[in-house]
């Protein structure tokens, strides 16, 4: 209608958003100006689109002034160029500083007088690690329940978890709970962005604005928070934002162009670097705290597909797809030196996936290989007869040797044993029966140590300290749980939590929790807590409609390997002390329980006494209404009639041959 027509009226284009100002250029004389212009356009601008206007102003002598203006055909091209060339270095002395022309006006309007920024008041956040100093080293966990409208943090006192003071809140999060990697913060989602909570009373630490944030990621050191939201606007087209946790400031934001798995940016273990792949073109490695590209440029790698950081060293692993004249390759590179420490050529590769050992001791690259390849009508490759190879890189050995395992069956759920040298996977297809296979990486070979056949398993969950593992059939499988001690490959227990949708070990490896989440199944929502050997300890089923159960992570231990060895040696002395403490606390617990019950009983008696008083007061009325006293079952005993009922129990037929003679 009229409104629609008016909206379509051509707007005067304020042609500013497609223009960029490039500054930081060298100052050259008129002789070399033209060469400089060509150099700039060639190296930085032309690859982003069509430059419709380019101008490098000069002074009265014809020397350049150190900056240039350029206009692209579309706003998007200008934006792409900005993201790419900002901070790029021309030579040792000159670095490009690029900004939008539209920003220029803003800067020009800035106040002439510089006012020192206001000092922000010091906020004492208290001890953010207070929970680690709990007397008995109990962990905490968070539960999102009542269909997501209430979240509670509990102390995990086995058998009797207690909610933490002031940590039961309504509508604490609008979608889910997310702990930071070392457990310091609890992140909650809101339409306006993310909030972080912590400290003894879970007070709000900071807020990060990102409208309609959908998913987040922390750097492993917890210094940075990355958020993603699909809601982008013309004014703010950046879907990914990076914040500094301590200050709450946004350090950098990015467009999200290609479809990718989250997290798009992967962090190095200390948070010094983060990187992403520009599929087929380059690796972009950024460093903190500057948040700019390492050495001011991307690492150009033709046909690169994916990257992955070592969890313990600054080593970046990436793989390159095979092309018509080059095989696929996996390359390991140190950062920031960018030195290649290992390369492996792979032939007939359809796809690769990288799995790092949690302690960085090994990297396993799962390679899907084909026997035949043909091209579809639109040139997409189609692979026939896929089989799987696992290339295991031994990271701690000199020259990083690589060993290969071949598997013909279909493979899923590859997992490494933490703090150990085993890995496990599910092999086979569901219709023929799945098996779980365990391998051991020895000094000189990789041995297949155990095959468990006919297991309906879709999840392999290792204890975070290794040795114990749970084979689980979650969701559509029927909740079977097999607990295995891999030191002797014996099954310690077989349990079932029908309909379980999630499984999680506590950070110390003592407990396993399976949950039936309300998000997937509407009935029987509960969490079951098992010991590491598979004994069911207790069920958390008093909370309604549990959606999520999440253990609070712990920071890594401060003890050295030596110290841990010593403690294990002297376990007996420690055990004695702990057993005594356990006994004391259980008697204390039962004493507390008895006191609580005694209290409940007295309250109940009082309540009943009041009601009975009313009851007795109405006795006369009751007699009138019924004519007899019916207060007790035997109140009107005089009306009872005694009746004897006889039931024949047995009927016997006895044949009498002669009638008895009557004596005379």
């Amino acid at each position: 209608l009229l409104g629609d027509i008016l909206a379509e009226k051509p707007q005067e284009k304020k042609a500013i958003n497609n223009a960029l100002v490039l500054s930081g250029l060298p100052i050259v004389d008129s002789a070399r100006i033209e060469r400089l212009q060509v150099f700039i356009r060639d190296k930085f601008l032309d690859k982003h689109g069509e430059v419709v206007k380019f101008s490098m102003p000069t002074d009265e002598n014809g020397n350049s002034l150190g900056f240039a203006l350029c206009c692209f055909q579309t706003d998007q091209q200008a934006l792409d160029a900005l993201t790419d060339i900002q901070g790029a270095s021309l030579d040792k002395m000159h670095t490009l500083n690029v900004f939008k022309f539209s920003d220029f006006n803003r800067l020009a309007d800035a106040d002439d007088e510089w006012k020192p920024p206001e000092k922000a008041p010091f906020v004492d956040r208290g001890d953010l690690r207070s929970w680690l100093r709990e007397d008995r080293c109990h962990d905490q966990f968070g539960v999102l329940h009542t269909a997501g409208s209430v979240a509670t943090i509990y102390w995990h006192w086995p058998g009797d978890p207690q909610p933490v003071d002031s940590a039961t809140r309504n509508n604490w999060t609008e979608s889910r709970l997310h702990w930071s990697p070392l457990g310091t913060y609890l992140a909650t989602y809101h339409t306006k962005g993310i909030a972080l909570w912590g400290g003894e009373k879970f007070e709000q630490i900071n807020r990060f604005q990102h409208k309609n944030v959908q998913i987040i990621d922390f750097s492993p050191c917890e210094r940075y928070l990355v958020t993603f939201s699909p809601s982008v606007t013309k004014e703010d087209p950046h879907a990914i934002k990076m914040f500094e946790v301590d200050t709450g400031k946004m350090k950098r934001s990015f467009l999200h162009e290609q479809a990718a798995k989250w997290p798009v940016f992967k962090w190095s273990h200390k948070g010094e670097f983060f990187a992403r792949v520009q599929t087929g073109k380059a690796l972009q490695v950024f460093e903190t705290p500057s948040f700019s590209l390492l050495d001011k440029k991307s690492i150009s790698v033709q046909d690169v597909q994916d990257l992955s950081w070592s969890p313990t060293d600054n080593i970046l692993a990436y793989w390159i797809a095979e092309t018509d004249n080059q095989p696929a390759r996996v390359i390991l590179m140190t950062m920031p030196e960018k030195r290649e420490v290992a390369t492996k050529m792979l032939f007939n590769v359809a796809d690769c996936r990288m799995h790092w050992h949690p302690q960085g001791n090994y990297l396993c690259v799962r390679v899907n290989r084909y026997t035949k390849k043909k091209l579809d009508a639109d040139n997409t490759p189609k692979y026939i007869n896929i089989y799987t190879n696992f290339e295991v890189f031994r990271m701690r050995e000199k020259n990083i040797p690589v060993e290969k395992i071949e598997v013909t069956d279909a493979v899923s759920c590859f997992t490494w044993e933490p703090h150990g040298s085993k890995f496990a996977m599910v092999q086979g297809i569901a219709s023929k029966g799945l098996s779980v296979v365990f391998y051991q990486v020895n000094a000189h070979d990789i041995e297949k140590v155990k095959v468990l056949e006919k297991r309906n398993v879709n999840t392999i969950s290792w204890s975070p300290i290794g040795q114990h593992v749970v084979l689980a059939g979650l969701r559509s499988a029927n909740g079977g749980l097999e607990f295995i001690d891999t030191s002797d490959m014996k099954t310690t227990a077989n349990q079932e939590h029908f309909g379980a949708t999630d499984i999680e070990w506590d950070p110390t490896g003592r407990y396993v929790v399976t949950t039936v989440s309300f998000w997937h199944v509407k009935v029987d929502n509960a969490s079951h807590v098992y010991s590491s050997h598979g004994t069911l300890l207790y069920k958390l089923n008093k909370l309604e409609r549990i959606c999520q159960f999440a253990w609070r992570p712990r920071p890594p231990t401060l003890l050295s390997d030596e110290q841990i060895k010593n403690i294990k040696k002297n376990m007996k002395t420690y055990s004695r002390r702990f057993e005594k403490e356990d006994l004391q606390s259980s008697t204390r617990a039962s004493k507390e329980l008895l006191e609580k019950r005694a209290r409940l009983n007295t309250e109940y008696e009082k309540w009943r006494a009041k009601l009975l008083e009313k009851f007795r007061g109405e006795k006369q009325k009751r007699l009138e209404l019924r004519g007899v006293d019916t207060d007790e079952l035997d109140s009107n005993a005089q009306d009872f009639v005694e009746e004897t009922l006889e039931f024949p129990i047995k009927v016997e037929r006895i044949r009498i041959d002669k009638l008895p003679q009557v004596a005379e």
Partner: protein
């Protein structure tokens, strides 16, 4: 933990799901009604059937026995309620209503009967009071319309001064039908109240709700005192007249049925401690959700009726009477 309960007596008299099971005051008779048209009366001693009440044409939703055990009242989906003579099984009075009769009950004196009807096409949910001493003309002595949420369960209050009604939206009300007013409303439940059972002295009652809980409430001020939580909707609950125990029976909503465990006989009756609100025992046996439960009036046993059409009569072992919480 309770270990064994003596084998139950299974009463097989109904072809369709059980809707209610009730005892008479003396505890020697059991009244069962189901979604078939013939309610039955049984001897509690050995499970022998006394007989069935023939006359209804549809599912029988409710049954009540008068305090002197001489008369029985039933309410049915065939839009009628009938009064029967217990000894002979003869129908002595039948009243027609505009919609299905959902609850019924004799008052304390046994001279009045209350009925509540469902809300259906054009007819609001109604409470009807009849004086049953009158000539069987079948006109209600008074009636009261319930405008909003329909009544899903109703019982007489102490001395029958008012009715205590449970509604589809979880409301609990005290209704003075003769004065046509709602004395009090409380919202303790978040879902429909499926059953209300009075304690033996009428001073308190337990409600069973779709919101997975049962609650202990006082009759005079509708004050909530205890809550018993489970993982499934609760269809029925009763308070033991002998020990501080509450019995809950329930199941799952029809639309939520997946292949739940498929272990036969998995549906269980749950026992909670009245004061500590803790579950301490479960008795399995039914093949479908449990729709109605009740303790025997002497507290020495209990009866459960299920969706599977079975009525199971249990007697407690000696363990039960000695059982104490540590």
């Amino acid at each position: 933990q309770l270990n064994q309960i003596m084998k139950p007596i299974c009463l097989l008299g109904h072809m369709r799901s059980i809707t209610q099971v009730r005892f008479n005051r003396d505890g020697d008779l059991i009244f069962t009604c189901a979604k078939d048209p013939h309610p039955s009366i049984w001897f509690a001693l050995n499970g022998e059937r006394l007989g069935s009440l023939v006359g209804h044409n549809g599912a029988v939703w409710c049954v009540d026995c008068r305090w002197d055990s001489k008369k029985v009242l039933t309410g049915s989906a065939d839009n009628s309620a009938k009064l029967w003579d217990t000894e002979t099984g003869k129908c002595v009075l039948s009243v027609d209503t505009n919609s299905a009769v959902r609850s019924c009950g004799f008052d304390f004196a046994g001279t009045s009967a209350m009925l509540t009807t469902d809300k259906t096409m054009g007819y609001k949910c109604t409470i009807l009071l009849y004086d049953i001493r009158q000539d069987p003309a079948g006109q209600p002595a008074c009636q009261m319309l319930v405008p909003e949420s329909k009544i899903t369960s109703a019982v007489w209050g102490p001395l029958s001064r008012f009715l205590i009604t449970g509604h589809e939206n979880g409301d609990l009300c005290q209704m003075d039908v003769r004065a046509q007013k709602v004395i009090r409303t409380e919202k303790h439940h978040k879902g429909a109240i499926n059953d209300i059972r009075m304690y033996k002295d009428g001073t308190m009652f337990v409600t069973a709700s779709k919101d997975h809980t049962a609650r202990l409430i006082d009759s005079y001020e509708l004050q909530l005192f205890k809550t018993y939580k489970t993982e499934r909707p609760v269809n029925s609950a009763d308070i033991s007249p002998l020990r501080p125990h509450v019995l809950l029976g329930g199941g799952q909503e029809a639309q939520d049925v997946t292949t739940s465990g498929a272990h036969v006989g998995k549906f269980d009756a749950k026992f909670f401690h009245t004061v500590y609100e803790e579950e301490f025992a479960r008795v399995k046996g039914h093949f479908g959700p449990i729709n109605s439960v009740g303790f025997t009036p002497d507290g020495r046993g209990f009866v459960t009726g299920g969706e599977d059409g079975f009525v199971r009569l249990h007697s407690f072992d000696n363990d039960y009477f000695d059982f104490e919480f540590e």
